[in-house]
Symmetry: C2
């Protein structure tokens, strides 16, 4: 057990928003024999609740502005509805899940993003510190942390933090503390595609040189760029391997029929 | 530290609904040197959110009927908004708080209340098992569990459970596991009153004989009866002592100027 690599698995909103997909994912995740951490977003739950409450969704450059009411909605849907239903679902599958935010056990401290160029993102936190020993202690006791994308500033203020960022910061901190950790991003596509029109054109490995060429050729663009930049940054900061794949492939992870993209360090 | 008695502290909605009172309570709770567990309800947060969402509040004999939407509201407000803001507030006061529901670590299993006399209470759970070793392990690691009043049935279903019941079941289970535990109920009044018109007529001690007389004389009635029955049941099941007092008195707990009612075992 101790020799199996630690996996930090992040699931996207598309899984949370589709109950049959989520049920299958929880089954596959619970079955992983590795020590593991789950990081999740909230999918459309937050947007839907905000609409029901008549809150105006404020965006800037594709990023949501988190005012106080929007933060409350994020806390209710991410830390409440999404997190606790996933925990109950994992328990039903024999996985000793423990739902957490960054405030619990002071796991993830963040700093409220400063106002820049007149833009105030509101109650959004940039990660400053991950309390790796506390997470490692939970893992050593046999439990599976399930992290909602919320952090705190140490003065009692909860802050909204991007779930991809939480996953990679947690993987980096655990890699440093434990000596190894891998990071798995489940998203909508089967992996990074060589041809956007062909869902089966999954690129199996990308190293920094290949990534530079893919960017130059325009194969990788827009929404994939921050995800891949984030993945390469995690590798550069000590994460053993990063994988990008569809949630449905989790059951095959580590097996010959696994389909997905592995982000590889420079040769 | 190990010799200080374990305290299970339950706060009522009146504390959660009043931010200055809650801030002072969190300061006093964090300052308790004892190992401790906090159990909370949701105050008016759930009712307010249900109203904002246009949900009809269904009651039967003073008890709320929990349909699926109402359960979601309870999960969002109890496990999300109330729990995580309290955890962040305790962290700011140096208390290693960990927010939990009964689903986390399989801490509290319950059974959905059966339909009886045609009344279906909906997603309400009656406690069947408290996983005392897991709670004791968290306490031994130096952290302070903060419990929202939600449980699970082991098949993935979250259930709504009365917070007073959770507090006494947790105290009973920890008393059996650790050899001792005390239970503290913070509520609106300074204690059990000898004269309902006089807020300072607090009865310092009540044992079963005295309780029988107070009931016969009509001094204790209506809402206090289930609370006191619950307290005496906890004593009978091994809890060392039960105290009923106002949240503002927590700072004086264990000191000569403490004001509150102690429920005492039979002589």
């Amino acid at each position: 057990m101790a020799s199996l690599p630690l996996l930090v698995v992040k699931i996207g909103g598309n899984v949370i928003d589709a109950p049959p997909l989520l049920a299958q994912f929880l089954t596959d995740f619970a079955a992983l024999p590795n020590p593991k951490v789950l990081v999740h977003g909230g999918g459309k739950l937050a947007t839907r609740l905000a609409e029901q409450l008549g809150l105006e969704v404020k965006m800037h450059n594709g990023r949501r502005i988190t005012d106080r009411d929007t933060l409350d909605v994020a806390v209710m849907t991410y830390a409440g509805l999404a997190n606790k239903n996933m925990v109950a679902g994992l328990q039903a599958r024999g996985c000793a899940a423990l739902g957490l935010t960054g405030a619990d056990l002071d796991l993830i401290r963040s700093e409220r993003r400063p106002v820049k160029d007149g833009i105030d993102y509101g109650f959004v936190g940039d990660v400053r510190h991950v309390h790796a020993p506390a997470l490692a202690g939970l893992l050593a006791s046999g439990c599976t942390p399930v992290l909602a994308p919320l952090t705190h500033d140490g003065t009692g203020q909860l802050l909204n933090t991007n779930a991809d960022t939480i996953a990679s910061e947690v993987a980096v901190a655990l890699a440093a503390h434990l000596g190894q950790a891998s990071l798995l991003f489940c998203f909508e596509k089967k992996g990074v595609l060589a041809n956007a029109q062909d869902d089966d054109s999954v690129i199996a490995h990308i190293d920094p040189d290949y990534y530079a060429r893919l960017k130059a050729d325009g194969v990788v663009h827009s929404g994939m760029l921050p995800k891949l930049d984030n993945a390469f940054a995690a590798i550069a900061r000590g994460v053993r391997a990063v994988y990008i794949f569809q949630a449905e492939a989790l059951a095959h992870f580590g097996k010959p029929n696994f389909v997905g993209t592995q982000i590889a360090p420079a040769r």
